[in-house]
Amino acid sequence: MKKIINEPHAVVDELLEGMLLAHSDFLTGITDTRVVIEKEKRATVGLVSGGGSGHEPAHAGFVGDGMLRAAVLGEMFTSPTPDQIFEAIKASDTGHGVLLIVKNYTGDVMNFDMAKEMAEMEDIAVESVLVDDDIAVEDSTYTAGKRGVAGTVLVHKILGHYAREGKTLTELKELGERLTAHIDTLGVALTGATVPEVGKPGFTLAENEMEYGVGIHGEPGYRRSELKQSRAIANELVTKLMETKTDTKKIGLLVNGLGATPLQELYVFYRDVVHELKNYDVEIVFQKIGDFMTSIDMAGLSLTVIDLDSDTYQAALTSPVDVLNW
């Protein structure tokens, strides 16, 4: 394991400390709990998200005006606990309620649910939106359902925009539920991710091997294959992602690096995605390329397609925000 860190168990606390030291102009922490929150709060619904650490810049990099009010950091790749989330909820409420944006993982769902129950006992209005964009997993009663991955960041952005516009908690929840149905993601990995305390990659791929459909904690994908060229990967991901979008005319794209992928590869891949999409009758009206929802030091990327036939989503995606990593 080659990492620039100190004691492996201290990484989460130290990266949090680094963040707060660097960005104290607009971000602050909540004492004794790993929460990053805006200093200035508008009198609007507060959006709270979070999950295990290791997905940086998610989620703390999206805290700020126009996106999240607070982010809750769990242990590495481990959902945060209900009391942490509860602290974030309390601190985020300005009397307009709090919307939780939760990635669909058993742990996240349950911990956020418990936090919601705690908050309700203190009469704070809380709703939640579940993001399950990873189409690598079949959504059936035989699985925990589709996972929440990079598309979550688009949910932060769009709902963050609406929250700033003054939408109510109920409106935001409804909007969110409709929105998540329009977002699909697929990832590929060239290497596994190494959790510092574990010290070795969660899985290993041979020098000439890649895996399609891997989750952001290294959950198994749907196929291993020899390493393909960018255009072949673009073909496979686009084909799968566009399968359900037969009536869609306008889309947005998010090409997301998983932590150790150079930006140059993301741009080569983006190019191939655009070429691939020429086979479809769609217009690309929004795109974002970079690291948004990583998997520690995994090499690989994910492609997210969002259906943008609704003009309002597009406007919500492009409005200015004041966060670190959008």
């Binding site: 295990g52 959902s79 911990n111 925990a144």
Partner: protein, 194 residues
Amino acid sequence: MELTHEQAKRWLLNFHQKVTDNKAYLSELDQAIGDGDHGSNMARGTEAVKDKLGSVTEDSLEAVLKQAAMALISKVGGASGPLYGSAFMAMAKTAKETSELSTLIEAGLDGIKHRGKADVGDKTMIDMWQPVTSALHEDDLTEVTIDQALEDVKPLKAKKGRASYVGERSMGALDPGAVSSGYLFTALIEEVLA
């Protein structure tokens, strides 16, 4: 049979010891079909339980179970945190009414089912809690019950939690949550039933 608050404390301390001793093994089991953190998660959690128990001054079963629940909820995270936490919280609530052991454990089982929306056969800790609850109702909980439950959980295909992502590959493997729950009930046998 009734559970006293002293017994409950000894039970939880024994559980902590077993989890600590088997931390690496639990993570290894989780590595095979999950994400390899069940040992760390449970060690962190039971350590917190141990710490909290020291500060329980009330001589009440409810207080002991509630502190355990709080410690697990606030320190574990992941899937097992809210599940164990909900189990102990449900037991604590039930302890207001009764201290009958099988009723308490059944309440814990219900807490897990309610929180995780899983059921028997999904290859989760429920596949340990359910047979143990039945055995307690018949006053017949022994190591055999636990060993049998572990045998029975192996061939199952995971349908809930992280292990469900590996699908077929989960068949033949032990479920880490069922194993850690097995430690919980072995500790119960040793401290309460023996």
